[in-house]
């Protein structure tokens, strides 16, 4: 099997959750859900997963599969009100989307332009402010572009490390922006002053290409490695168990 870019992204997302141990993995959106379920079936069997609504599931179902009594074992109840308890408890790693991310790891899903009269109203801040000061947070960007990676986000929904430090220990103690995975590369925020740092570029992508697709600078330490290819086992799990219909290609087209 030849891995596609979507498969590489799924494995990179899985790697972001590999060392989490026994905590609630909360993926928002398609590729994060695929990556987290892949991680649960390969690298981290202790991850706690939900059906995206109100149930903890003992094993990960295929993408968008309706709950099945034969296949899915329910291991707990996680209605929205209890999600807020887990966020405050801290045993959670969320991977959110991001309409904008900046060099300091701040994220925006609220509005584009001036908040008082936005050029484009988005979702609203959702749980991003609370997530980022309470539990590990990563971001997924399916279309890496200068409009997404910006010098400064228009609205800070998700709080990056510099803003958290400036707000004091209440914000900074548990602030943990872990990975930003895009269709081109993987960043963390371990650059100087906790800014974006390029960890790896996906096979077939150059550092130059990432630079051109980014509207902000980022740190590059020496030779940037390639994001690893998925293993044979991972490819089988992706293509035969979790996403046999190839829904991932709607988000990251095969090239």
């Amino acid at each position: 099997m030849t891995p596609t870019r979507a498969d590489v992204c799924a494995a990179a997302i899985a790697d972001a959750f590999a060392d989490d141990g026994e905590l609630f993995a909360s993926p928002m959106g398609l590729l994060p859900t695929l990556g987290v379920r892949l991680c649960r079936l390969t690298q981290n069997p202790d991850l706690v997963l939900s059906d995206g609504e109100a149930l903890f599931l003992a094993s990960p179902p295929p993408l968008f599969a309706p709950l099945s009594a034969e296949r899915d074992v329910v291991e707990g109840w996680i209605p929205f009100r209890k999600v807020f308890d887990v966020i405050a408890y801290g045993k959670r790693h969320v991977m959110m989307g991001a309409t904008q991310v900046d060099r300091h790891g701040n994220q925006n899903i609220s509005a584009i332009g001036d908040f008082d009269r936005p050029k484009r109203q988005l979702l609203g801040s959702r749980g991003a402010p609370g997530n980022t000061v309470n539990n590990r947070t990563s971001y997924w960007v399916p279309k890496h572009s200068p409009r997404v990676f910006v010098e400064q986000v228009d609205v800070v929904s998700g709080v990056g490390p510099a803003r958290a430090r400036a707000a004091g220990p209440g914000a900074a103690t548990y602030n943990d922006i872990h990975r930003i995975v895009s269709n081109l590369c993987v960043f963390d925020v371990q650059g100087e002053d906790h800014t974006l740092r390029l960890r790896s570029v996906h096979p077939g992508v150059s550092v130059e290409e990432v630079r051109e697709a980014s509207g902000c600078g980022f740190q590059v330490d020496g030779d940037v490695p390639e994001t690893r290819l998925p293993t044979e086992e991972e490819l089988v799990v992706i293509t035969e168990v979790l996403d046999p219909k190839g829904l991932r290609f709607k988000e990251v087209p095969d090239q």
Binding site: Q121, G130, V155, V156, A167, P169
Partner: protein
């Protein structure tokens, strides 16, 4: 009570909390009744879905308190988007979702605020300078957000079953926050799919599903299909086809929205449900 009687108790300028979550178990029949009324200058407090979309499009909202507005399968609510982009909601308070719950808890406990981390460092505080922080009086001296109580004049919620006294059960997977909305409000009205005898509430349903007790509720309305087009699991799921039609009309021209209004929103609740049935038949 009838939905009209509930709406008759409301006045211009009130703060109205709307239960449910996004496009899930919203008291839509009551929202439609507000839409038909002359009420104006409302403050809405809602984990927003089409309730927010409809009422902002109709110009009923002077102030909106929300953490998000979404239709789930349609991520962005077009009527809400339009209202924000055209600046037709005079005042908005955008909170973190957890802050929203904490604000309702503070009101339910009759406290002026409750402390939490959410909001620190984010623009939620920048855009809401009225929200202050509080410093722990203990040795840690940690500065936290003092989430202000979200006090409501009226709460409107929709549940699966209720008795006529206001005891009410949810039968789906998630209670959302309807009990908190009721306790944060001066008075609360519950609409439900079916009014049953008190004994009927628990005859085949675990007692833990009785989310509302009669101390929390001032009036009960039976509105079958009253959460349409949002979910009311297990009585019915979201009407995705109808929601798509709603979203397309909301995102379309004024004529397209006008046609949607003419077809579905001009008459009373019975006319709405008839029009929805006709729509379903023609789509089948």
């Amino acid at each position: 009570m009838s939905i009209e009687q509930v709406v008759d108790t409301l006045e211009d300028g009130l703060t109205v909390g709307i239960g449910g979550w996004g496009p899930r178990r919203k008291p839509m029949a009551l929202v439609r009744a507000i839409l038909r009324s002359d009420l104006k200058d409302l403050t809405l407090v809602s984990w927003g879905g089409a309730d927010v979309g409809l009422l902002t499009r109709a110009g009923k909202v002077r102030k909106l308190v929300y953490a998000f507005v979404s239709l789930d399968s349609v991520p962005l609510e077009p009527n809400f988007q339009r209202a924000r982009q055209e600046g037709t909601i005079p005042e908005v308070v955008e909170l973190d979702e957890g802050m929203f719950m904490t604000g309702l808890q503070a009101a339910a406990q009759r406290l002026p605020f409750l402390p939490m981390r959410a909001g620190l460092g984010s623009d939620v505080l920048t855009h809401n300078p009225a929200i202050r922080t509080v410093t722990s009086p203990y040795d840690d001296a940690t500065e936290l957000v003092a989430v202000p109580a979200l006090r409501l004049d009226v709460a409107l919620v929709h549940l699966n079953r209720a008795d006529r006294h206001g005891n009410a059960t949810y039968l789906g997977p998630d209670p959302y926050f309807d009990d908190l909305f009721c306790m944060a409000a001066e008075r609360a009205y519950v609409s439900c799919e079916q009014v049953v005898d008190t004994a009927g509430l628990t005859v085949d349903t675990p007692v833990q599903r009785v989310l509302l007790n009669r101390m929390m509720v001032d009036g009960v309305v039976e509105t079958p299909h009253g959460a349409h087009f949002t979910t009311c699991t297990p009585d019915y799921e979201r009407d995705e086809r109808f929601q798509r039609a709603y979203a397309a009309a909301a995102a379309g021209s004024d004529e397209e929205w006008g046609a949607f209004e003419d077809r579905f929103l001009r008459g009373d609740e019975t006319a709405y449900q008839d029009a929805v049935r006709a729509f379903a038949q023609e789509q089948a």
